[in-house]
C-alpha cells in the first residue's frame, strides 16, 4: 500500500508542477492538501473475517460459556427459596376474611395466620421479602410522582412540594410530607414469623429491619429535614400525612431515630420503584445464629400477617418469600440455563460453519475450475 502511496505522492507532485509551468501563473491550486489525513492514506489496521479467526472464536465462546452456565445453574439450585401467597383469594385461605372485609377507615387491624412447613433447613443468612403482583410501580405517572428534594430534607420543598406530586400534593390545605403517589401507596402490612416446636411452643424468629436499603439511599438521597437530631414531630409540623397512611411519617419508627421520618428503611425500600409489575422487595433479614445450627430449622412455622394493604381491587397478589443468598444472588435458574444454551449453540454453530467451510469454502483450492 505504501508503494502505491509513493506513486500517488509523485503524481500529485508532478501534476501541479506541470500545470504551474504550463498554465497561467494565476491559477489557484484548489486541490486538497496532500497530507495523509486528507488524502485518506492514514495507516490503518484492516481486519478481515477469515475462518482462522471466526471459527476459533465460536469454539472459545462455547467452551467458556458452558462451564459458566453449569456453575451458575448448580449455584442457583443450591439456593433455597420458599414463597407463600397470602392474599386470601380462596375461601379456604386464612386471610380470606381480611381481604374481603377491607375498609379504609377501620381502626382495628385485621390479623391472619398462615401456617407453612419448611422441609429443608435454611442455612446462613435468610432474607425475607414481600412480593406484589400486577402492581405497576413502573407506570410513568406513578414514577414521576415524587419530590426528591423534599425527601432530601430541603425545608423549602417540605412546605411547598413539587407539582409532580399532584394530586397527592396537599391535603387539608397543608402540604403532604412525603408527597406523591409512590409514598402514598407505601406497603404497610406487618409480617411476623414464628417457629412451632415439635412440642408445640412458639418461638418468634428475630427479624432485623435495618440494612435492607441501599447505602446511598439511606445516607445521601433521603435525609430528614433539619438534620437527624431534631424532634421530628416539630420538624414536620405544618405538614399532613399522606392520604392513605394510618400513621404520620415521623411515627414510622419512634423507637429508633435513625429509622424514623424519611430515613425509615421500609419507606426507602418502597420508594425505590420496581421495574416490572411483579416484583419483590426486601422486608427483613434473619441473621444466621451459629455455624452449627441452621438459621431456620426444619419444621412447622406460622406467618402472622397484619393485613393492611388492599390488593384485591386491582387483582393484585401479595406474597411472602424466604430465600437464602449466594454470591450471585437469589435463585435464578434462568441465567445458568441461558449460558448453557448460548454456549452450546455457539459451539454447534462453530461446528456447522466448519463443515460448511470445508465442504464449500475451499472448493477452488484444487486445480479444476468449477463450471
Amino acid at each position: 500500500m505504501m508503494a502505491s502511496n509513493y506513486n500517488a505522492k509523485e503524481e500529485d507532485g508532478h501534476q501541479p508542477a506541470a500545470i504551474g509551468h504550463g498554465g497561467a501563473g494565476t491559477v489557484k491550486n484548489k486541490k486538497p492538501d496532500n497530507t495523509a489525513f486528507k488524502q485518506q492514506r492514514l495507516p490503518a489496521w484492516q481486519p478481515i473475517l477469515t475462518a482462522g479467526t471466526v471459527l476459533p472464536a465460536f469454539f472459545v465462546i462455547g467452551l467458556i460459556f458452558i462451564p459458566i452456565g453449569i456453575g451458575l445453574f448448580v449455584t442457583s439450585n443450591n439456593i433455597q427459596e420458599l414463597e407463600i401467597d397470602y392474599t386470601g383469594v380462596d375461601m379456604s385461605s386464612p386471610c380470606y376474611n381480611c381481604s374481603q372485609s377491607y375498609s379504609w377507615n377501620s381502626t382495628k387491624p385485621c390479623l391472619c395466620s398462615v401456617p407453612f412447613f419448611l422441609d429443608q433447613p435454611f442455612e446462613s443468612n435468610v432474607f425475607m421479602y414481600y412480593g406484589l403482583s400486577n402492581f405497576y410501580q413502573n407506570h410513568r405517572r406513578y414514577v414521576k410522582s415524587r419530590d426528591d428534594s423534599q425527601l432530601n430534607g430541603d425545608k423549602a420543598s417540605l412546605t411547598s412540594p413539587s407539582k409532580e406530586c399532584e394530586p397527592y400534593r396537599t391535603s387539608d390545605n397543608k402540604p403532604i410530607a412525603p408527597c406523591g403517589a409512590i409514598a402514598n401507596s407505601l406497603f404497610n402490612d406487618t409480617l411476623e414469623l414464628y417457629y412451632i416446636d415439635p412440642n408445640g411452643s412458639r418461638t418468634a424468629i428475630p427479624l432485623v429491619k435495618k440494612g435492607i436499603a441501599w447505602w446511598t439511599d439511606k445516607h445521601v438521597k433521603f435525609r430528614n429535614p433539619g438534620g437527624n437530631d431534631n424532634n421530628l414531630t416539630v420538624v414536620f409540623q405544618g405538614t399532613s400525612k399522606p392520604v392513605n397512611w394510618r400513621k404520620s411519617v415521623y411515627e414510622l419508627d419512634p423507637s429508633d431515630p435513625d429509622n424514623n421520618g424519611f430515613i425509615n428503611e421500609d419507606f426507602i425500600v418502597w420508594m425505590r420503584t420496581a421495574a416490572l409489575p411483579t416484583f419483590r422487595k426486601l422486608y427483613r433479614i434473619i441473621h444466621k445464629k451459629t455455624n452449627m445450627t441452621p438459621t431456620l430449622p426444619l419444621g412447622q412455622y406460622i406467618l402472622e400477617v397484619t393485613y393492611n394493604y388492599p390488593v384485591r381491587s386491582f387483582e393484585g397478589r401479595k406474597r411472602m418469600i424466604l430465600s437464602t443468598i449466594s454470591w450471585m444472588g437469589g435463585k435464578n435458574p434462568f441465567l445458568g440455563i441461558a449460558y448453557i444454551t448460548v454456549g452450546s449453540v455457539c459451539f454447534f454453530l462453530g461446528i456447522v460453519l466448519l463443515i460448511i467451510h470445508h465442504k464449500y469454502g475451499n472448493r477452488n483450492h484444487s486445480a479444476d475450475i468449477p463450471s
Partner: protein
C-alpha cells in the same frame, strides 16, 4: 456510506424498540427504560462519533485497487448496497437486538438479587443494565462494521464507550445530586449496579447473543459468496504478507496485522527481495492452508503490476502522442503489456474463460509471455525512477521466469489458478462476465496489442 446508513438505522431501532417491549410491562404508559440523560446523550455522544469516523475513513479496498478493478463500482451502480432489502435487514437486526436487550435483563433481573439481598429488579438497576448493554452491543457492532481502523477510529470507538461510563458515573454521583436533587434521580445507581456480577453476566450474554448471528452470517457470506471488494481486500492483505518476507527473508507472518506504513521502508530492496519472496511465499501460502478460494499469490502478482506507473505510461502516451514502441524500448514493451494486464484481469479473464474450461491451457501459452515479463518488473516499477532500471531485468526476467514457474506450479497450473482467480473476482454474476469481454470496456484491442508486442 451504505454501511453508515445501515448502522444508523440499526442503532436507533435497537435503542427505541426496547421501549416498545417495555410498554407491555408498564401499562403502556410510555415510561422510558433508560435515564432521561442517557436518551439525550445516546445519539449525540455515545454513538455518533464512531460511525462518523467509519463513514469518513472507511476504505474497503485501497485506492489503487479501485482504479484497477472498475468492476468494484458495479454494486453501486446497480443499487445493490442499500435498497429496500438491505434496509429491511438492518431494521430486522435492530429489532432483534432490542428484543434481546429488553427480555434478557427482564428475565434475569426479575429474580436477581444483590449479594446483600436487595433485589435487583428496581427501575434504576434495570435502566443502567439495559443502557450499558445497549452501548456495548452497538459499539461491538460498529467495531465489526469498521473495516479500516485508523487511529481516529480507535479513538472514537473506545472513547465513546469510555465516555459513556464516565458520564454515567458522573451523573449518578453524589456531587451532582447534591446540587440538583430533582434532576439527577439516579444517585448511587451506577456505582451499585456495575459491581454486581449478575449485571455483567447479563451484559456479556446479551452481547454474545446479539453479535454471534451477525458474525456467522458475515463469515458465511464472505466464505461462500465473496464480493469483488472482499476478494480485492484479501489479496491486498495477502500481498502485504508476502512482501514482508521480502525485506526480512523470513516467513510466518500474520495476515492482516501489517500496517501499511511498513511496506514503504522496504521499497529499495523490493526488487531483489521479490524473487526471493516469490519462491518462498508461494509455497508457504499453499502449505499453510490459507482458507481462501483464490490462489491469492497469483492474483497478488498479477495485481502488483498495476501500479500507477501504468497511469504514468498511459499519460505519457497521451501527452507525447508518440508511438509507444518509439519511446524507451524497455519502457514501451512493458507499457502495453501493462495495459493489457491492467484492464486488469478483465481482458485476460475473458480470454481465459471465454471458451470452455479446456481453453485455458492453450491460451496459457499465449498469456505467459505477456504475464511473465510483467511479473519480473512488477514490484520495482511501483516507483517511476525505478522504472528504467526495471526494464533492464525485464529481458533477463524472461529466463528466470522459467525458473520461477516450477516454483509452485506448472505454467498451465498457474494459469488455471489464475482462472480460478478471475472466477472468484467476478463472483458468480451469471455467465455474463465469463462469456465475452463485453463486460469490460476495451478487451478486444488489448489482446491484439499484446500479440503485437510479443
Amino acid at each position: 456510506m451504505c454501511r453508515f446508513l445501515c448502522y444508523f438505522f440499526y442503532k436507533n431501532f435497537a435503542f427505541t424498540m426496547v421501549h416498545f417491549w417495555f410498554g407491555f410491562f408498564c401499562g403502556f404508559s410510555a415510561q422510558t427504560v433508560y435515564d432521561q440523560y442517557f436518551i439525550t446523550l445516546y445519539n449525540i455522544v455515545y454513538t455518533s462519533l464512531p460511525v462518523l469516523a467509519m463513514g469518513i475513513f472507511d476504505q474497503d479496498v485501497p485506492e489503487q485497487r479501485s482504479l484497477e478493478y472498475p468492476k468494484l463500482y458495479e454494486p453501486g451502480q446497480l443499487n445493490l448496497l442499500f435498497n429496500k432489502r438491505e434496509f429491511f435487514i438492518c431494521i430486522t437486526q435492530g429489532i432483534y437486538t432490542s428484543v434481546v436487550l429488553f427480555f434478557l435483563p427482564y428475565a434475569i433481573l426479575s429474580h436477581g438479587t444483590q449479594g446483600t439481598g436487595e433485589p435487583l429488579a428496581d427501575y434504576q438497576t434495570f435502566a443502567v443494565t439495559t443502557a450499558t448493554a445497549l452501548v456495548i452491543v452497538v459499539s461491538v457492532q460498529i467495531a465489526l462494521d469498521t473495516g479500516y481502523w485508523t487511529a481516529i477510529n480507535h479513538f472514537f470507538v473506545w472513547g465513546s464507550v469510555g465516555s459513556f461510563f464516565t458520564i454515567m458515573l458522573a451523573m449518578h454521583s453524589q456531587t451532582l445530586f447534591s446540587i440538583f436533587p430533582n434532576q439527577f434521580h439516579f444517585v448511587g445507581s451506577a456505582q451499585s449496579t456495575l459491581v454486581q456480577p449478575l449485571v455483567w453476566l447479563t451484559i456479556v450474554l446479551a452481547t454474545v447473543i446479539c453479535i454471534v448471528p451477525v458474525l456467522a452470517f458475515r463469515f458465511l457470506k464472505l466464505d461462500l459468496k465473496p464480493q469483488l471488494s472482499d476478494t480485492v481486500r484479501y489479496t491486498q492483505l495477502v500481498r502485504q504478507k508476502t512482501r514482508k518476507p521480502a525485506g526480512r527473508c523470513m516467513g510466518g507472518v500474520r495476515v492482516g496485522g501489517v500496517p501499511e506504513g511498513r511496506l514503504g521502508a522496504r521499497g529499495g530492496s523490493r526488487r531483489s527481495g521479490y524473487a526471493f519472496a516469490h519462491q518462498e511465499g508461494f509455497g508457504e501460502l499453499i502449505t499453510s492452508g490459507k482458507n481462501m478460494r483464490l490462489s491469492s499469490l497469483a492474483l497478488a502478482n498479477f495485481a502488483s503490476r498495476h501500479s500507477s506507473s501504468w497511469i504514468d505510461t498511459l499519460r505519457k502516451k497521451k501527452h507525447s502522442n508518440t508511438h509507444p514502441p518509439q519511446s524507451a524500448s524497455g519502457e514501451s514493451s512493458p507499457a502495453p503489456s501493462y495495459v493489457s494486464g491492467s484492464a486488469p484481469p478483465l481482458s485476460n479473464s475473458s480470454s481465459l474463460l471465454g471458451g470452455s474450461q479446456d481453453t485455458p491451457v492453450e491460451e496459457g501459452t499465449h498469456t505467459p509471455p505477456v504475464i511473465l515479463p510483467q511479473v519480473a518488473s512488477g514490484p520495482p516499477t511501483n516507483t517511476p525512477p525505478a522504472l528504467a532500471s526495471a526494464q533492464v531485468p525485464s529481458a533477463d526476467a524472461l529466463t528466470p521466469t522459467s525458473v520461477r514457474s516450477p516454483g509452485g506450479d506448472s505454467v498451465g497450473g498457474w494459469n488455471l489458478s489464475l482462472g480460478a482467480v478471475q472466477d472468484a473476482l467476478f463472483g458468480w454474476r451469471g455467465g455474463a462476465a465469463h462469456t465475452s469481454g463485453t463486460s469490460s470496456p476495451g478487451p478486444p484491442p488489448v489482446p491484439k496489442d499484446t500479440n503485437h508486442t510479443v
